[in-house]
């Protein structure tokens, strides 16, 4: 196996594009290094992107935030502007693993690992995050939602590297929230995860809503049915009941070591209701 630590994104892309065997980008390594210890995993080339200037920065632009691909999840929580703009995204990223894991791992890695249970991904999708991809054919910006396409599979092509996650400046009177279910208090993988992002009108009723569900399908679900249940409401009991039912219905989980189908569907609804309330309050709703 070859390990490379290029100083420019161009070099990194070229190395990956020209590689013959199995090649991987290395960010925090909390997924990749663990997998590399397994007997059924082989890597021929690992390209560490942490030495590329700018990768470890959170840039505030006119449009919003550009979070470099090597920014650790712990660093997100130290950026007060980001925390106040996207509290749901930051809280999701800071549920990953433990303090030790968070100081290594990245949201980009979480997204590209393409686990159905990835914690930051529903929050990113609810926030309508985009990613900037640099590849052999140049730079393009695509929706974060379109990166994972199934367990362990992404839409990225050979040589592609995500160099930043882009979050818009939030609308006035908006708020987001993420909740997950794990049987323990930490160091666990989501059995269900739900992110809600709401924007309120001047009267306090919901104008736009995005509801994303994690760990209940091969990849993250953005449920328009669920979002629709909230539009025009002030999260009255009936609206929350409809949201709960819509989220349970939208979930298409499997029975596995982490939970049952029935459990996941039911808890997806419960968490959606709770996350919606938090997002609503963060948006200034009462």
């Amino acid at each position: 196996m070859r390990y490379e630590r290029p100083g420019t994104i161009e070099d990194a892309v070229a190395m990956l594009a020209q590689a013959s065997g199995r090649s991987f980008v290395l960010a925090g390594g909390t997924d990749l290094l663990v997998r590399m210890k397994s007997d059924d995993f082989d890597a021929d080339l690992v390209v560490d992107i942490k030495a590329i200037p700018g990768m470890d920065e959170i840039a505030e632009t006119a449009d919003g935030f550009a979070i470099g691909a090597a920014v650790s999840c712990a660093e997100l929580a130290e950026n007060s502007a980001l925390v106040s703009a996207w509290p749901g995204v930051v809280e999701a990223a800071n549920l990953i693993g433990s303090t030790q894991i968070q100081s290594r791992c990245t949201m980009t890695g979480n997204l590209c690992n393409a686990s159905p249970a990835a914690d930051s991904v529903p929050a990113l999708v609810a926030a309508d995050a985009r990613v900037r991809v640099i590849g052999p054919n140049g730079t393009r910006t695509i929706s974060a939602q379109n990166i994972p396409v199934g367990p362990g599979k992404t839409s990225l092509e050979k040589g592609d590297i995500i160099d930043a996650i882009l979050l818009a400046r939030p609308q006035p009177r908006s708020g987001d929230a993420y909740l997950r279910f794990i049987p323990r208090t930490e160091m666990d993988i989501a059995v269900v995860g739900v992110a809600v992002n709401l924007t309120l009108g001047a009267d306090g009723s919901v104008q736009t809503a995005r509801v994303a569900l994690g760990a209940v399908a091969p990849s993250v679900i953005l449920s328009e049915e669920a979002a629709r249940t909230l539009i025009g409401t002030k999260l009255e009991a009936a609206a929350l009941g409809a949201l709960e039912a819509a989220c349970s219905a939208a979930s298409i989980p499997i029975d596995d070591k982490r939970g049952t189908v029935a459990f996941r569907k039911q808890v997806a609804g419960v968490l959606a209701r709770r996350a919606a309330r938090i997002a609503y309050e963060r948006a200034g709703g009462k």
Binding site: P183, I189, D256, G259, L271
Partner: protein, 754 residues
């Protein structure tokens, strides 16, 4: 030498204090050497090839391509481990479990092993071994394995203990029965009867350190092994038996141990490391991965238990009956029998009967896990008692007190009890502030009792007094829970010297006589007895030396408070001689001073505990948090109270994990789905409250200081205590452990539907 082990009350100076642990600095600075920290020149790396099938006949193994790989020094299969077990079924089971002979019986069963110059080559070699399997139908569930149409693991297994003997084979190896009185007439006298079936899932001991060893066989027939174990003398015996080595020529050194809890009382891959070393002619290091530890070492039984208890309206139990089915992995064993013995041990019963069935399944061979078999039986029985209390409308502590066994009671498994602690732990629970702490919304409280036998066994100890008067203590029971500190305290107490002047070490198998392993909570009980005996023998010698130094008859030399004293009016002016004084002159009075002891420590006092647990359950998700937990247990005598508390807390923590989340999850293909700590969920620190402890000291009459074993009992009550608390919080009786969120939510949904 005869040794009087009877308890004598006396004022103690060292025993009962809480000095720093002698192994602490090494452990926190990373200097402690665990199993994988030992290396030898020229050592090879071993890897084991394991079956991906739950049940398969091995048709053919072709290792030729692996053997041909550059860097591979030895490849072994079962053919390299000829059967030397001579009809000993238990030993054969160990042999077959170490390396499958004709069939792979579970996902993870070893089928071949390689030794190579490094890990990469070893891994490569595994891929080159071709195994042709004839995959057979499998069964992993204890109840399914008992069904008449279940796939048979062993066509020659006919249940023993049944009269007349069955004529068809089954997956049930043995039936056992315990009890006395007549349960039918007892139930006839009952006003209230509770009858239920319970299930507990298979758990792993979850020791943090994986199995690891370095083995080195020499051409002259001698061999050495450095290994992480709870019993190096037992490992030596088993490995020598399996490999045809002379016992005394195999020297086994135990490493520091990162947890065992019973799982390191059995050999797993150690015989393979020796066989590889023998074949390769070089030392071989074998370290199991976490996945291998889960798939192929040490889980406890999965169980299915029916309990029926009858009582009068005023709470007197008239009859108790339990049927216990325990899985034992692919080889029949005696786990259900132990469960059947412990089930009702807390109670004084006129009519009691327990029946155990040993069930073989396509899962790893079951190993001891802290008070093996007792937690599951206690879960079923203590849940039923809890329900009985509710039905009668009686406080569950009162009900237990009313029926508790006491000195003179005939236990449900046979013996008559001496002085025991069940009553006192219950009395302590009744008045404990935990019992009256207010409960909030969605919170519930449960309590439960537990029993464990405790063992004694063969023990051998050397105590050497150095020229400066400090003492080294060489013991043969591996220190798994702090026994070096406790034994140093005991030696200090007996000799009348400071704890800091005693250094205890674990001797290897060539430097000390045989010791049984550290199991059955016997470490401190038995080795302290041997230490006391060795110290008293050293004192005999020191009195003789003092007599020589003073030139007076030894009869006139007494031993008091760490000093030789000349007794009698004529010696009044002689200053007493300390251990240091006598040691300094040893070279002139007959040479080094030592005390030796070998004995069978009989009379390990049985041990009882009562636990109280409060939980909060989220009724919408089934998430459970333990918010308050108290352990009350009889220690006989707490030699080092901080360690005793640690044992109480550790057992409770493991029991809470078992009660709430830990379980082996198998797929339809019979493969283990969660062989790692990510999905095999032991509690993390933040999952647990501070576990409160209360030590009771009801002296064991058969130990000079009254010591009982304390290590295991603490894991017996938690399954029931937690399940009773959850049942109280959600208003539904939870009968399947772990009471994981999906099970709780399903129970709540069923209740809501009516």
């Amino acid at each position: 030498m005869s040794f009087d082990a009877t308890y004598k009350e006396k004022k103690l100076k060292s025993v009962g204090t809480r000095p720093l642990r002698p192994d602490g600095v090494d452990k926190v600075t990373g200097r402690a050497r665990y199993g994988a920290d030992f290396n030898m020149p020229g050592q090879l790396v071993a890897r084991v090839l394991r079956s991906p099938h739950a049940h398969a006949r091995i048709m053919r193994i072709d290792v030729s391509r692996a053997v041909a790989l550059k860097g591979v020094k030895a490849v072994i299969t079962a053919a390299d481990l000829p059967d030397l077990t001579n009809g000993n079924a238990a030993l054969y089971a160990i042999l077959d479990n170490c390396m499958a002979r004709t069939k792979a019986f579970y996902d993870g069963h070893a089928v071949a092993a390689v030794a190579a110059i490094d890990a990469k080559v070893a891994r490569e070699a595994l891929k080159l071994i071709e195994v042709e399997y004839d995959v057979l139908p499998h069964v992993v569930d204890v109840d399914a394995a008992m069904a008449p149409d279940a796939p048979l693991l062993d066509e020659n297994l006919f249940t023993q203990g049944i009269d007349p003997a069955p004529t068809t084979p089954s997956n049930v190896g043995n039936r056992s029965e315990f009890g006395h009185g007549d349960v039918e007439s007892g139930f006839a006298k009952a006003d209230v009867i509770v009858e239920r079936s319970y299930k507990t899932e298979q758990t792993h001991q979850g020791y943090i350190e994986p199995h690891a060893c370095v083995a080195s066989c020499n051409v002259d027939g001698t061999a050495e092994m450095w290994v992480c174990t709870q019993g190096h003398f037992v490992y030596r015996q088993t490995c020598a038996d399996l490999l045809g080595l002379e016992v005394s020529k195999l020297r086994v050194t135990s490493s520091e141990i990162g947890g065992g809890f019973g799982g390191k009382t059995h050999v797993w891959a150690e015989p393979l490391a020796l066989a590889l070393s023998r074949k390769a002619g070089r030392p071989v290091k074998l370290v199991m991965s976490r996945e291998e530890v889960f798939r192929a070492s040490g889980p406890t039984s999965q169980t299915s238990i029916d309990v029926k208890i009858g009582a009068t309206k005023d709470g007197k139990i008239t009859a108790a009956l339990a049927t216990l089915r325990y899985s034992s992995g692919p080889y029949a064993d005696s786990w259900a029998e132990t469960g059947a013995m412990t089930s009702f041990a807390c109670y004084d019963l006129e009519n009691v009967k327990t029946v155990g069935f040993e069930v073989i399944v396509n899962r790893p061979k079951v190993a001891a896990y802290r008070a093996p078999s007792a937690p599951m039986a206690a879960f079923a029985v203590e849940s039923a008692i809890d329900e009985l209390a509710h039905k009668i409308g009686m406080d569950s502590v009162e009900l237990r007190i009313k029926n508790a066994a006491s000195e003179g009671s005939r236990s449900s498994y046979g013996p008559i009890y001496g002085p025991i602690g069940i009553g006192p732990t219950l009395e302590a629970a009744r008045t404990h502030p935990h019992m009256s702490a207010p409960l909030g919304k969605n919170q519930g409280r449960g309590m439960a009792c537990g029993f464990w036998f405790n063992f004694g066994g063969q023990t051998c100890t050397d105590l050497n007094i150095s020229a400066d008067g400090t003492v080294t203590l060489a013991v043969g029971t591996v220190d798994v829970g702090g026994s070096r500190a406790s034994l140093s305290l005991i030696a200090a107490e007996e000799l009348g010297i400071s704890y800091d002047d005693v250094k205890a070490v674990i001797a290897d198998t060539s430097t000390l006589g045989y010791n049984d392993m550290t199991d059955g909570s016997r470490g401190t009980f038995s080795s302290s007895m041997a230490t006391i005996s060795a110290a008293r023998n050293a004192i005999v010698t020191m009195r003789e030396r003092a007599a020589l130094m003073w030139d007076i008859p030894v009869e006139d030399v007494a031993w008091e408070e760490g000093h030789a004293k000349a007794v009698g009016a004529s010696y009044d002016n002689r200053a007493p001689l300390s251990v240091k004084d006598i040691a300094a002159e040893a070279g002139n009075t007959g040479g080094p001073i030592a005390g030796h002891s070998e004995l069978v420590a009989d009379g390990a006092g049985v041990s009882f505990g009562t636990h109280i647990c409060d939980v909060e359950v989220d009724p919408e998700t089934g998430a459970t948090r333990v918010i308050r937990y108290t352990v009350i247990q009889d220690a006989g005598k707490a030699v080092h109270p901080a360690y005793v508390e640690g044992q109480y807390q550790g057992g409770a923590a493991q029991g809470i994990g078992w009660a709430l989340n830990e379980e082996y999850v198998y797929g339809a293909d019979g493969r283990l789905q969660n062989p790692g700590f990510l999905d095999y969920r032991i509690p993390v620190c933040s999952d647990l409250p501070m576990i409160d402890t209360q030590i009771l000291e009801i002296p064991n009459p058969n130990h000079p200081y009254g010591v009982r074993g304390v290590g295991e009992t603490s894991i017996v009550p938690p399954l029931a205590a937690v399940a009773n608390a959850v049942s109280d919080a959600v208003g539904v009786r939870m009968v399947h452990v772990p009471v994981s969120p999906p099970r709780i939510l399903a129970a709540l949904n069923a209740k809501a539907k009516g």
